[in-house]
Amino acid sequence: MVKEIIKMEPDLQAIKEIQAIGADTLKKCYQCATCSTVCPLSPDEAPFPRKQMILAQWGFKERLINDPAIWLCHQCGDCSKYCPRQANPGEVLAALRLSVIRELMPFKFLNTFYNNLWGFPILFLISLFFILLAAIGTFGGIPNFFNAESFPYGGPSYEIWFLHLPARILMIDVVFIPLTVFVIIILLSAINRIWNFYLDTYKIPQAYRYKVWSILKVYLIPAIAEILNHTRFEKCEANKWRALPHKVLLWAFIILAFTTAIVFVMADILGFHTPWHPLLHPVKWLGNIGGLMLLYGIISIALGRSRAEVEKSVRTSYPDSLLIYLILFIGLTGFGIEIFRSIPSIKNATSLIYLIHLALVFILFLGVAYSKFTHLVFRTTAIVFDLYFKDITQKMS
């Protein structure tokens, strides 16, 4: 029999990348496994984050992409609090998530823009470019951005098929519908890839590899129920405070998405066009409630993080800050539009705020695939896989 020699080569480039993205303490870990034991979310059969720490120390990116555990981590911070080496496993796993997002997505330069402060102006210009291009196209030339009656509340109306679309609505549609389709396509392809990686990593027998539809039917619904309740997040000890604001924020996004959908159907398709009365229209009530929840959630997260940083139970890296401030300013500009347009003396400033709001929303939408925001998709995938894996292990035994 030929003796097989397995030679492990560390991937130095990958190690440097991971360190640069917030895991600078990575190499302090000496593998005592305190973290895996104190972690309230780490399962008995495949504990984390001790194993992920050593994989990262060697730069084994492939192994980390294939590992749902990094997404099951909610960065409670218990591991970082008790780590005897101050190696901050919680922060390292956050960095690993960012690095996996980068690995899985096409057009990596976009990811670079999201992970560095210098990239923000570029992202802003990109989004402004698409929005202005659409504005010029739909408003029939450059509208006056210092007059609310010209932009966004002016411009021609379009009759396309049975649709009746004012310029500003058409402008949003031509920008955001393709953007959404683009983001959805690359995310679905990434989910498909990691799901297959997971199946191989955990050596799931063919007989238990169910069809997509049955996976969704059986496991996605309980996964979503769990996410809506934040069942896992609430098990955190060191950073217990994070679960509530995060939950409020999640619900805010759901309410706002629901509101947007109603507006899309009623205005874009059925022709009942906005602006609607901010105080009297029920859809506006819902939108305003969502907006307030969004602001409450994001401000609590920002304040809580700065408190936790003093206690050293959490560290905030640039990608964390970007997402926090992006959401905060989207909330503020959203309400800004509402307030400015209802006060005649300052109404004309609405145009600029509207423009900024749209640009930030553009960055957030694209960020669903390229920023920390992507956890929304991959964590859900990992939780679905976790439920699926637990279920079939039971069936197999």
Binding site: Y30, Q31, C32, A33, T34, C35, S36, T37, V38, S42, P43, D44, E45, A46, P47, R50, K51, Y82, C83, P84, R85, Q86
Partner: protein, 413 residues
Amino acid sequence: MKSLPILVVGGGISGITAAVEAAEVGAEVILVEKEPTLGGRVAQLRYYFPKLCPPTCGLEINYRRIKSNPKIKVYTLSEVIEISGEIGNYKVKIKTKPRYINDNCTACGECEKVCEGERVSDFDFGLKKTKAIYLPYPMAFPLKYVLDKEALAPGDLERIISACKYNAIEPDMKEQILEFEVSAIIWATGWKPYDASKLDILGYGKFSNVITNMQMERLASPWGPTGGQILRPSDKTFPKKVAFVQCAGSRDENHLPYCSYICCLASLKQSLYLAEKNQEAEALIFYIDIRTPGRYEKFLKRVQEEARIHFIKGKVAKIEEDPETKDLIVTAEDILSGKKIHERVNMVVLALGMQPSIAGINISGLKIDENGFVISDEGIIGCGCAKMPLDVMTSNETATGAALKAIQTILRR
């Protein structure tokens, strides 16, 4: 050699060694000890390294050498509070607490029989109570009783005075401040176990059967609280399955950032204590790395043959108690299998790290590092565990070295 004496601070194995070595080549020595007796940590052990001798073996011969050498003056219940001056001529202030017992005491024990008041024995790490008037341990040096006045019950004082045939009890003794001029200072204040209650996830102080390794030494000691039986605190039964938690406080940036050197060996040694009592007893040693410095590797081999030990690579970070049996469930990630394990054991021993005895205490004129270890400086020479975590053998070697350094300060003048 007609010169100022050498001051040795700390009457444990290192201080005793340094004092005897210096005095036996002719130097005058003042030996100062905080406790009522010499002996230090070694006196509390069941066996000590390297040869697993009982403490009587090393201490007794040294006590004889001290007794027969007029050049050594011993001050117990005494602490250095201030150092000034320079090499060759230090002025040292020493605070001596009253013993309330004079030199007439013969340790006959009559007083103890009539005394009713009790105090928690710190010598036994709280596992036992002694009378308010007590002998620190059977071979204490000086072999004299001590009185803890605050622990006396009403009427005790009259009873013990009348029970003492030698007029040895002096309830009016006062605290004294002594001043000495010395040529050099050997600092040998040793170590204390790290405060286990700071390790909140390990349940010490919360669960009765979670004990420290020094408590385990007392349980195994023939003059300990259980007469050497090793009985667990909750129900006084022999623990058949014991988990040893290595690096409890050591190698931990949140507690003691250094390796305490001896704890791995201590747990191995204590596995032998269990095997000595019962061949079936099992020891589970949860470790990060088993560290057996130098030739102690051989000891690891020996213990593996003589005791039933399971080594589990993975630090314990969770301990729960079964409220009915008071057994403990110890959780760790077994790194070699990559799975979490939950082991039910009868008792948990925390392999607590060593902290310098003077950590957190500010002594004017003494240099210490950020962890409280003494930094040798001109005529102030650190040795033993006051300098760094060590075993007994190496402590003694550093003590002999320190004695030579101290003698040099006298001869150079």
